[in-house]
Amino acid sequence: MSAGAGLSMTSAVVASKQQISCAVAEEAVLLSMQTGEYYGLNPVAASIWKLIQEPRTLHDVLDALLDEYAGVTADECKPQLFSFLSELIALELVEVR
């Protein structure tokens, strides 16, 4: 089972302490404290990253994104949100609470 596969809309996620991030205009860069690798986040990913600096359920994150990005439906957004967060969980950049 891949990391993050157990995620549900009621799972609470938060940015791991094993990283350092900084904003670059509307985007963001992460440095993993575990591996020393850098990761770039596009504006949408950076919005999610900003939201999960405090623990939040996926439901809350989705609602916030739908508010921020008009014209995007929950059906379009949800799979991408799951996919992105699963990737960050696998990289140990996000924790599930």
Binding site: I20, L31, M33, G36, G40
Partner: protein, 337 residues
């Protein structure tokens, strides 16, 4: 104040490094003053009341202190290790001994090792040791070379790992009328305005490069297959003040096959630019630890937000170097005014 007169190169033998501590030398470098117990022939002599940094030689073994290991860097057979102590940082270098840097970065103490080559000791002080001190003050220290153009002394920097042609390009541009800001270590203050401090006024080149660029006359010795130091640049070819940073190029040398131009550049977006700069720090994360690497990343992001960062695919061939220099000067026509 800069005395305006370079010290003559003094041939040093390791034993001469342990000169009486009452003899000190003041120099101007990286926009500050260094007071040293050993001469630095590659630096500009200065007159100062209060140095920004002092370099002393400890007489005897270091006291037993608790060491917290931060990181390590392996460069061929050479190893650097960095430790935290109660009073600052300790840099241990396999071929030159121990360097203690105070918490505020103002004091560098070397525990003398008789077999350490003086040039190596000087290069560590002017490289890793001062880079650690400068980063404690919030500067971003990058591995690269820089030149300034025009009356505004607008700086362009060339970054990249060893053998990517940074020093070659900086020297070729200097020969074409630009002024040298520094080679190897670039001390950058993130802006706005982002600026670069004047570094060491010498360039390390391979002997064939020195000959191809006709700068072998600036080198004390040119030995085949060995890097040599070109130091005798005229005062007009050097920048002595802080310069605004106009552009950064991350070098990506390519072969001659299929390339139409001597060099092609591509502007990096904000995130890619910040990561590219973070990859070219003088002090890698493996040595300074990831917390310090996080500070470097923040500084790199601030630089990337204020200065265009490009990748430069430059053809690695001496015969096209003049065309590459011409191309770069054309890109920066406004800076040359």
């Amino acid at each position: 104040m800069i005395a305006g007169q370079r010290e003559r190169a003094i041939p040093l033998h390791p034993e001469h490094l342990v000169a009486p501590s009452s003899v000190t030398h003041d120099y101007s470098v990286f926009g500050g003053n260094l007071r040293s117990e050993i001469p630095f022939p590659e630096l500009v002599a200065a007159v100062c009341d209060r140095p920004d940094w002092t370099f002393r030689i400890a007489r005897g073994a270091p006291a037993a202190v608790r060491l917290e290991r931060i990181g390590e860097r392996q460069l061929g057979p050479e190893t650097y290790r960095l430790f935290r102590t109660s009073s600052g940082l300790r840099l241990e270098y396999s071929h030159a001994g121990l360097f203690d840097i105070s918490n505020d970065g103002t004091s560098i103490v070397w525990y003398h090792r008789p077999d350490a080559h003086p040039e190596l000791v000087r290069s560590i002080v002017l490289g890793s040791a001062l880079a650690l001190a400068l980063e404690l003050k919030g500067m971003l220290c990058l591995h690269g070379s820089a030149v300034a153009l025009g009356r505004g002394s607008r700086a362009i920097a060339f970054l990249g790992p060893k053998y990517h042609g940074k020093s070659t390009l900086a020297t070729a541009l200097t020969a074409a009328g630009a002024r040298l800001i520094g080679d190897d270590l670039l001390a950058i203050t993130p802006g706005p305005p982002t600026t670069v401090r004047p570094g060491v006024a010498s360039v390390r080149l391979w002997s064939d490069t020195a000959r191809a660029l006709s700068v072998d006359t600036l080198c004390a010795r040119v030995i085949h297959g060995v890097k040599t130091t070109a130091t005798a640049f005229s005062e007009r070819a050097l920048v002595r003040g802080v310069a605004p940073l106009s552009a950064v190029y991350v070098l990506d040398p390519v072969g001659t096959g299929g390339e139409q131009a001597a060099g092609r550049r591509e502007r990096l977006g904000g995130v890619a630019a910040a990561i590219a700069l973070a990859h070219q720090t003088k002090l890698p994360g493996t040595l300074v630890g990831l917390h310090a690497a996080g500070s470097q990343l923040a500084a790199a992001a601030a630089v990337a937000a204020t200065v265009p960062v490009w990748t430069l695919r430059a053809v690695r061939d001496f015969s096209v170097l003049p065309a590459l220099v011409e191309q770069i000067l054309e890109w920066h026509q406004e800076d040359t005014l």
